[in-house]
């Protein structure tokens, strides 16, 4: 082996060269290099390699051991002094610690919330390959995004595109009634979905019993969750049993574990998609106008752009005629599954419950603000108190402390306080976790505290607090010159006055911003809830009557039965009610099929609907007359928006028109005043009332008074009329208000955290004021001896605040001034 080519391990050598200074570097490294060669010759490369690295370790531990040992020697002292100081000034310590504790607790809660909200659907396998297909439709009025695609698209794609590994459709349709043996249950539409079998291969839905590969292959099979199984079957084994859903029998082929809260797919029952096709329902065979949720899992390495173009082409190929007719442009979009929850604002027909990314940003801001307020507090109080530590600093310096050591001392004091605060904060968090869960309607398990990410964040927060909050006081304290200190010529309160003002003003600004935000939010929510909808939503009891056998012959007598109850003053049947989905049909004025077709929201009503909901007919005469003459005929009553949509110049012009191209052309019977049939967030679309009987909803208008009693009477009446049906009801105003539940919650969270932030700031101010008053004890004493009364002393205390007040008022005024801009920024 040629000696000249044996070199020591490069990394170790480089590290060593960093440790030694220049003087020794050549010497030592050269020696090591030589010895390395000898060792390689004598004992082999491995031994030599180990020897070299061991030298490195010994050198480093030798050098750093020095520092560590000396530091540790001082830490005992620092700890002792820190604890002594905390207990010596109990009030300030209390204020400091509670301020920090509240701040940390708030940050932790906000972090937990954000972590939860951003974790939706991230637990599935291979989430980077899972997407939702959504439709973007552009027409003359703009672009709308629909949260789904036509049903036939999925099987077509699976057959013709190898890029798809698995694909499944989901469709929650109407509410259902479930019967097992002799027990009746009602399930809401969103909990009972039709699903393709592939859904189990895309989403992680572990099975307790049953085979996930074949569970939903056959028609008329269902898969239920553990909770649902308990509800229906109790202790029986559900597998293989028959559930009767809306007069059809389904076999239970699988039971899954309960679905965690953070997934867009929430269900109690999944029905096989094959059930629909076996019934041959027209609705799922249309290529245009159906928007069902479609989830796909792509193969590895798929070019998304190419695939998306392929999807768009498939849909366009199959619906070219209609798209041309309606002059619309269709584009498909692949939405990553983890984006669905937060980034689906404004999508139409979105069945998945979703949050809003805006809230996440806002809450993060609040968290940061609160954190800053708590830190400013700490800095202020510490700096203010620093006079008491001045002597200590002076003597330490005289005894030979370096500035760096003093910095370490004071920062570690802050860290100790931070740790103590954190201990309090964590007990508060654990204590209040369930309250927080209720408040935000998310489910955070206690196990989240054991998550390594979480622990890391906590340590990060504590370190940040220690460093941010502690660095200025530490720097300030360690800068005292012993000369000044011991001569007591250190003038306290003046030098730090500027910083204190700045920090207090900073706190104030943050508080003002938060308050404005909370107020604006509250205003928005109240505005939405209080705005007139164009119809009367109060005192309405809605009963779902689909499938109850209501028809043209018996509906009047049914209504009369209910009207017999004295507190019920109105009853009306309809195919839909405000807040529920309506049918959407393509309708055009006679002869204008190609030029003027529009999708109208259509609802069938009976003769009492207008009076029950207090709607206004503004053209066509008297509503009662129309109902009387045209009951059950094919005419339509349109709303104002529909008239405008069709391009007619006045309501009177509309009155003469007929619609559609088949006999007998349904005439326009009247025009009614627009009302918000969807939430206030949406623009009013064109709507039509049809006069054929709608049998799905019965609206009862009742007098205010004893609601409970009215409800009981109505229920009794219902059970006599429909003994075999579940009494499924709700109050309209509750339902409509719940639309804003999400916003209300956020407003509430806003309010609470803002309050906490301000509370911390006030704590700080109180501490400062108390301290300054304490400083002036001598002065007050002297003034009292000279004869000042208590009220005079108050004036002095006032003057303490005075200096900062001017600035505060200015900030407040400008904040209010900018209210409008803030409002538009927050506008949802």
């Amino acid at each position: 082996m040629n000696r000249n080519y044996i070199k020591p391990p490069k990394i170790a050598e480089w590290l060593l060269s960093k440790v030694f200074d220049d003087l020794r570097k050549h010497n030592t490294l050269g020696d090591f290099a030589e010895y390395y060669i000898e060792l390689t010759d004598k004992k082999g490369k491995l031994i030599a390699w180990f020897w070299y690295w061991s030298q490195l370790i010994r050198v480093i531990t030798g050098k750093s051991g020095n520092i560590v040992i000396w530091s540790m020697a001082m830490f005992r002292n620092y700890l002792k002094i820190a604890l002594r100081n905390i207990f010596k000034q109990k009030i300030f310590s209390f204020i400091n610690i509670s301020g920090l504790a509240i701040g940390i607790a708030c940050c932790v809660f906000i972090y937990l919330y954000i972590d939860y909200e951003t974790s939706w659907d991230s637990y599935h396998n291979d989430t980077d390959r899972i997407y939702r297909i959504i439709s973007s439709i552009k027409n003359a009025t703009g672009t709308t995004i629909y949260a789904g695609v036509a049903a036939p698209l999925m099987p077509y794609l699976k057959e013709n595109f190898p890029q798809i590994e698995y694909g499944a459709r989901l469709w929650p349709i109407f509410d259902v009634q479930v019967k097992y043996k002799d027990r009746l249950f009602k399930e809401e539409a969103k909990n009972v979905q039709y699903a393709d079998n592939d859904i189990f291969k895309i989403f992680k839905i572990p099975f307790i019993a049953g085979d996930y590969i074949t569970a939903l292959e056959r028609p008329f099979t269902v898969v239920i969750t553990d909770k649902t199984a308990d509800k229906y079957f109790g202790d029986e084994d559900p597998l293989g049993k028959i559930l009767r859903i809306n007069d059809e029998d389904y076999e239970v082929t699988g039971i899954t574990y309960d679905i965690p809260g953070n997934s867009i797919l929430q269900f109690n029952i999944l029905r096989s998609w094959g059930t629909i096709t076996s019934r041959d329902e027209q609705m799922v065979q249309r290529w245009y106008g159906g928007f069902h949720m479609a989830i796909v899992k792509l193969e590895h390495g798929v070019d998304k752009k190419v695939f998306t173009k392929g999807i768009t082409q498939s849909v366009v190929d199959h619906s070219r005629d209609i798209l041309e007719q309606r002059q619309e442009e269709f584009t498909a979009i692949l939405q990553p599954v983890t984006d669905i929850h937060l980034h689906s604002n404004g999508f139409v027909f979105d069945n998945a419950p979703h949050g809003n990314i805006l809230y996440i940003y806002v809450l993060s801001c609040i968290g940061i603000f609160i954190f800053l307020i708590a830190c400013f507090n700490f800095i202020n109080l510490s700096t203010a108190r620093s006079g008491t530590r001045a002597c200590e600093v002076g003597i330490r310096k005289v005894a030979g402390a370096h500035r760096r050591q003093l910095l370490i001392q004071f920062i570690s004091e802050t860290l100790i306080i931070a740790v103590v605060s954190f201990a309090f904060a964590s007990s508060a968090v654990i204590f209040k976790l369930s309250t927080f869960n209720n408040l935000t309607s998310i489910k955070i398990a206690y196990s989240v505290f054991l998550n390594t990410d979480f622990i890391f964040i906590i340590l990060l927060i504590i370190t940040f607090v220690g460093i941010i909050a502690g660095s200025y006081p530490a720097l300030f304290l360690s800068s005292f010159k012993p000369v000044n200190v011991l001569r007591r010529s250190l003038r306290m309160g003046i030098k730090s006055g500027n910083l204190r003002k700045v920090l207090v003003i900073g706190q104030f600004v943050l508080s003002v911003v938060m308050i404005s935000g909370a107020i604006i939010f509250d205003q928005q929510v109240n505005y939405m809830k209080g705005k007139p909808l164009g119809f009367d939503k109060e005192q309405k009891l809605i009963i779902r009557t689909q499938g109850n056998g209501v028809n043209i012959n018996n509906y009047n007598s049914i209504k009369e039965e209910f009207l017999n109850i004295s507190s019920v003053t109105g009853a009306a049947f309809s195919s839909s009610v405000p807040g529920e989905a309506m049918f959407q049909w393509l309708i055009w004025p006679t002869g204008q099929e190609k030029t003027n077709p529009h999708l109208l929201n259509v609802m069938s009503i009976d003769e009492d609907f207008f009076s029950v909901y207090d709607l206004k007919l503004i053209a066509g005469g008297d509503i009662d007359e129309i109902m009387e003459n045209k009951r059950n005929s094919r005419g339509y009553i349109l709303n104002e928006t529909a008239v405008i949509t069709y391009g007619w110049k006045s309501n009177e012009e509309a009155m003469n028109k007929t619609l559609m191209d088949y006999e007998p052309y349904p005439p326009v019977l009247g025009v009614f005043k627009d009302y918000h049939f969807e939430g206030l967030q949406n623009v009013i679309g064109p709507q039509a009332f049809g006069l054929r009987l709608g049998d799905r909803y019965l609206t009862l208008k009742f007098e205010s008074g004893n609601i409970r009693e009215t409800l009981n009477l109505v229920e009794q009446k219902y059970n006599t009329l429909f003994p075999d049906r579940v009494f499924d009801y709700y109050f309209l105003d509750d339902d409509l208000n719940s639309q804003y539940k999400g916003e209300e919650q956020i407003a509430k969270i806003f309010r609470i955290f803002t309050f906490l932030g301000i509370f911390i700031a006030c704590l700080g101010l109180f501490g400062l004021a108390a301290f300054m008053a304490e400083q002036r004890t001598k002065e007050i004493g002297i003034r009292k001896t000279l004869g000042a009364s208590v009220s005079n002393c108050w004036i002095i205390v006032q003057r303490i605040y005075y200096s900062g007040n001017n600035c505060k008022y200015y900030i407040m005024a400008s904040g209010l001034f900018h209210h409008e801009e803030l409002a538009s920024a927050f506008c949802l």
Partner: protein
């Protein structure tokens, strides 16, 4: 203040023995060989520097070699002061050993 410690003494003697080849590595080897104990390089460095500070040794950089990765060697040589210190130490050593005869060195069984 002139009496050397054992390590210092050995190092100075080794330097004298090694003549021009007296740098850290051969010094360490020689002492290890002669004493029979393994002395690490670290044991040598500190005393070497201390001796140089006390002016008992002086050093100079010599040629570079490829074995050392192209680095210089630091060759040490004993100064007059160093020789004087050695002599003094030897004197004191001898005087301490005076009059101790062989029989006294035998360990008595008691």
């Amino acid at each position: 203040m002139k009496i050397l410690t054992r390590v210092e003494e050995f190092i100075l003697l080794a330097v004298m023995q090694l003549k021009e080849k007296a740098y850290s590595l051969p010094i360490q080897k020689k002492i290890s060989e002669i004493s029979g104990e393994h002395w690490s390089l670290g044991t040598i460095y500190a005393p070497l520097e201390r001796l140089e500070r006390k002016k008992y040794l002086e050093s100079s950089l010599s040629e570079t070699t490829p074995e050392r990765g192209g680095r210089h060697k630091r060759i040490y040589s004993v100064t007059k002061e160093g020789v004087r210190a050695l002599k003094k130490t030897q004197e004191v050593h001898n005087q301490m050993w005076e009059n101790i005869s062989e029989p006294e060195l035998k360990i008595k069984r008691s």
